[in-house]
Each structure stands twice: as C-alpha cells, then as structure tokens.
C-alpha cells in the first residue's frame, strides 16, 4: 500500500552537513493503523514531509499504491500539528472542509454529503458556519481531521496532531481517531513522540532511533481492538508494550560511542575533506 524504501535525507548548508534521516524502510498494509514514535528531533517531521511529497529525499523512494511519490499525491491527506495554522482563517468551517473537494471537482451534492458526514463524524455537526478561530484548539483540530476524512484519502498521515492540545481533549481525540479508523477503514500513519499514545492508538508501532534516523523496532500491538482510555491503559499488556517501546526509545537516545548534539549529528563537510588533501 505505502512503501517507504531506503529514505535518506541530508541537509546541506554552507558550513555543515546534517544527516536527518539515514535509511528508513517500512511498508504500511492497506487498512492498517500504524504509529511512528521516536525521540523529539529525530526527523519524524522530515520523514512525514518526504512521504507526503512536500520534500525531496536525498535518496530512496516512497511508493503509494505502487506509484512513486514525486509531489503531493492525490490519494493522501495530511493533518499537521499546528491546527491554528493549517485551517484557512478567512473561511468558515464548512468552506475549509469543502475547499479540497471543490479542487477535486466533485459535484455540489456530493460535496455537501461529504462535508456533513465528516463534520458529524468528528462531532462538529453544529459548527458549519463558525470560523476556525471561534473554536477551541481541540475543535480546530477536529475540523482539520474532518477535512482530511472528507477528502476520502487512501492514506492519512498525521504529524503529532495532538501535541498542542490539553490532556483531556487529547484523550477524546485519540478515541476519535480509533472511531474514524473503524468507520472509514482508511490506512493511517500516526506520528507522535508520546509512547502511551502510540501504544494506545496503533495496531503496530514503528520505533525510530535518534537522528540520523533508522527504524529501531517494529512492534505489533496485540491489545484488543475495542480500546478505552481506562481499561486499556491500565491493562498489564499495555504496560508491557509501553515498557518495551520506552526501553527502545531510551536506548535510541543514548547510542554507545557516538556523541549526540541537540537534534542532529554534524558530519564533516566536504570543505573539511578538501583541506586534508593539502
């Protein structure tokens, strides 16, 4: 369904070269809900931007349904962390959700149907005429999610969508994601730095190393399909899985010999190589 093959991303600037992502390979199966978790600053956002066609990888490729991603693919929707900056403030909630559908040239009747269905699904059936800035942060992110769902994507990517909302709202939104996934069966990749969130949401958790990033572990989450905040999170199996992910992340943060900077490891630049030849 979605193949990520040998993705590498190196940022080059005048005086230093930063290898953000070293070598990432994984596959998402159709209908899967996978979480990608890694320490902060490990290149999660870089990877997501490459997968969504917003950024060119230095090498490697992303295939969506067998087709190479070379720009934002039509069958993909992305939900960003910064809900306040991803909704168009000059459009109402309805217009925000409808805009991509207009771009897709859907008939008006179909658009209305999709907008109403998706806004109802995220619990905002009453908010059509409001502007995004009249809503709370959690509700704004619901609008962004509704917009993504209404687009009927084959793959839904979410980049730490709940990192900026309060804990209570966050729990509600996590359950919303599970519900939407059951309802619409869309293949979903959920990126987060929150271990509990990754284990609670996913059928599968991919654990990233610190930058330069590789996949450290690919863990199947064998919790029951019906999850709820109280019983799932207090079950012994949840604790075990959580501990395993935590351990991997912790080890990822402290690699054996390599000194690690704030976010990324600086490599010697080509200019340095040049000077050694004298």
């Amino acid at each position: 369904m979605l193949d990520v093959r040998g993705i590498k991303k190196v940022y080059e600037s005048k005086d230093r070269t930063v290898e953000a992502v070293r070598d990432l390979t994984f596959t998402l199966q159709a209908g899967e809900l996978a979480c990608l978790v890694g320490p902060s600053g490990c290149g999660k956002t870089t990877l997501l931007k490459i997968m969504s066609g917003l950024l060119e990888p230095t090498s490697g490729e992303v295939l969506l349904e067998g087709k190479r991603v070379e720009g934002p693919p039509p069958g993909m929707a992305v939900v960003f962390q910064e809900y306040g900056r991803s909704l168009f403030p000059w459009m109402t909630v309805r217009e925000n959700v409808e805009l991509p559908l207009k771009q897709k040239k859907l008939a008006a009747a179909r658009r209305t149907e999709l907008v109403e269905e998706s806004l109802a699904a995220v619990g905002l059936a009453e908010a059509h005429a409001a502007y995004p800035w009249q809503l709370s942060g959690g509700m704004q992110q619901r609008v962004a999610i509704a917009r993504a769902v209404a687009y009927e994507p084959h793959v839904l990517l979410m980049d730490e969508p709940f990192a900026a909302v309060d804990a209570q709202t966050r729990a509600d939104l996590e359950d919303l994601i599970r519900d939407l996934w059951h309802k619409f069966q869309v293949t979903t990749l959920f990126v987060t730095h929150d271990i509990d969130e990754a284990v609670y949401l996913g059928q599968r958790v991919l654990i990233l190393s610190n930058s330069p990033t590789v996949i450290r572990d690919d863990l199947a989450v064998d919790l029951p399909d019906q999850r709820d905040q109280l019983t799932t999170r207090s079950s012994p199996r949840f604790a075990e899985l959580r501990a395993r992910v935590y351990e991997q992340i912790h080890r990822a943060k402290t690699p054996a010999a390599e000194p690690v900077g704030a976010g990324a490891t600086a490599l010697p630049t080509s200019a340095d190589h040049g000077s050694t030849e004298f």
């Binding site: 931007k49 969504s52 066609g53 917003l54 720009g71 934002p72 039509p74 993909m76 929707a77 992305v78 960003f80 910064e82 900056r85 991803s86 168009f88 403030p89 000059w90 459009m91 805009l99 991509p100 771009q103 897709k104 502007y131 800035w133 009249q134 687009y151």
Partner: protein, 258 residues
C-alpha cells in the same frame, strides 16, 4: 441605543466646537483674507455644490478613480509576481527602489511631454504615485504566507490560480489593505497636484483659479470641499475594509483574548 448616541456625540463633539469657534471668531471679520465662515459656507453651497460640482469635482473624482484603479491592478499583480518569485524580486527590486525614490510631482512635466496635458497624464501621475505603498505591502504580504497553510494547500492539490485565489490573496489581504489605505491618501494629494499644471477643470485647478482671481471665500470653500471629499473616501474605504477583513479582525481579537 444610548451607546450609539454616546459614540456619535464623541465623534461629532469636537468638529462642532471647532466650527462654532471659527464661526464666532470670524463673524465680524473685515480682513479680506479671512472672510466670515458664513460667507465661506455660502460659497461652498452655491459654488461647490452648485455648478462646480459637475464642472470640477466630478472630473477630479473620475480621474482619481481611474488612477487609483490602475495602480491597484498593476501593483497587486506585480506584487504577487515579485512576492512569489525570488528571481523576479532580485531582478526588479533595485529598479523599483529607484522609481519609488522619485517624488511623483516631479514627474508631471515629464508625463506632460509623454502623455500630453489631458486626463491621461493626470491619471498616470496619480497611478504612479500611489502604486508604491500598495506594491510594497502586497510583496510583503505575499512573502509572509504561512508555511503550514501553504503545505496544507499543496497536499490538497491546491495550486496555480486556485492557490492564488483561495490562499495567497486572502492571506496577504490585511497587508494589501494597509497599502491601499496609504495609497488612497497619496492619490488624493496627487489628484490636486496634477491639476495645478495645465488643467482646464478639476478641484485643484478651481482652487488655484479662485485664489488668483481673489475669490477668497471660494478658495477657503474649496479647501473644505477637498477635506470633505477625503473624509468621505476614507469612510467608504473603512466600510469596504471592515467587510473584507472581518475574519482578520476576529482572528486578532481571538488571539489577544487567549
């Protein structure tokens, strides 16, 4: 209701006091250059709202509208182009900085040679002078389009003309309106200045002619007329702006209160 009355009272209070002071201070004036306000107002009604309205005020306003419209269209199109493309910006910026540094009234003699002494010249002078604030603000507004919003639009396949219409122009509109407001005041100044040379009608022409023929009350009344015109246009602008930027003012209020 009382709130509206209160605001109206506050807004009208000082103008009424000033007019009253002028009225009584000048009532018995025998100074040739400071005629009583009653005479000035009489001239305003009889001359400026009389035959001069169609003969001078309307042609002035039409030239103002044409020059301003030309500047708006050129500046916003050029501004979007410059704001979007780094190459175009690098290419045009030094040249534009030079043209911007030229005081527009100096161009009147040149434009007279190029465009004659008719309406065309005056429209071009107005357009040339008031395009800069609009252009520069458009460039800044277009450059400052939020990166997350821009990425969002890209992931939903919103590119080209749709991107311009649904993302770039609305996002830049608060800045564009700031430029439009500045441009409007410059346009009014240039409307008058362009009529001081080689004109046969218009507000600027009529005021200077009244002064030269020692029609002092009419000269003062012309000044009042220009003030009124500027005030009305600013009011009209505010109405349009408030309507177009309602989302922006709401957004700012929401951000301040959170």
């Amino acid at each position: 209701m009382t709130g509206v009355l209160r605001r109206l009272g506050l807004a009208l209070g000082l103008p009424i006091v000033l007019l009253a002071a002028w009225w009584f201070a000048s009532a018995n004036s025998t100074d040739f250059f400071f005629p009583p306000l009653s005479e000035i107002l009489q001239s305003l009604v009889e001359e400026w709202f009389g035959p001069r309205l169609a003969a001078d005020v309307v042609p002035s306003v039409l030239r103002l509208a044409a020059g301003y419209a030309l500047a708006v269209v050129v500046s916003i199109s050029l501004g979007v182009l410059i704001g979007t493309s780094r190459t175009v910006r690098g290419l045009l910026e030094p040249v534009l900085e030079f043209f911007r540094a030229i005081p527009p009234p100096v161009l009147v003699p040149i434009f007279m040679l190029l465009f004659g002494i008719g309406d065309g010249m005056k429209v071009v002078v107005i357009a040339f002078g008031c395009m800069w604030p609009i252009l520069l603000n458009t460039v800044e507004g277009v450059r400052a389009v939020d990166t997350v919003l821009s990425d969002t639009a890209r992931t939903y396949g919103i590119t080209g003309a749709a991107r311009l219409r649904t993302l770039v122009l609305p996002a830049a509109s608060p800045q564009i309106f700031a430029g439009l407001r500045q441009g409007l005041s410059v346009a009014i100044i240039l409307m008058v200045i362009s009529e001081l040379f080689a004109a046969s009608n218009g507000l600027g022409f009529a005021v200077v002619q009244a002064q030269r023929s020692f029609a002092i009350a009419e000269t003062w009344a012309g000044m009042l007329m220009l003030g009124l015109l500027g005030f009305l246009l600013a009011l009209l602008f505010r109405v349009v702006e408030n309507r177009q930027l309602r989302w922006y003012h709401g957004l700012r209020r929401a951000q301040r209160s959170s």
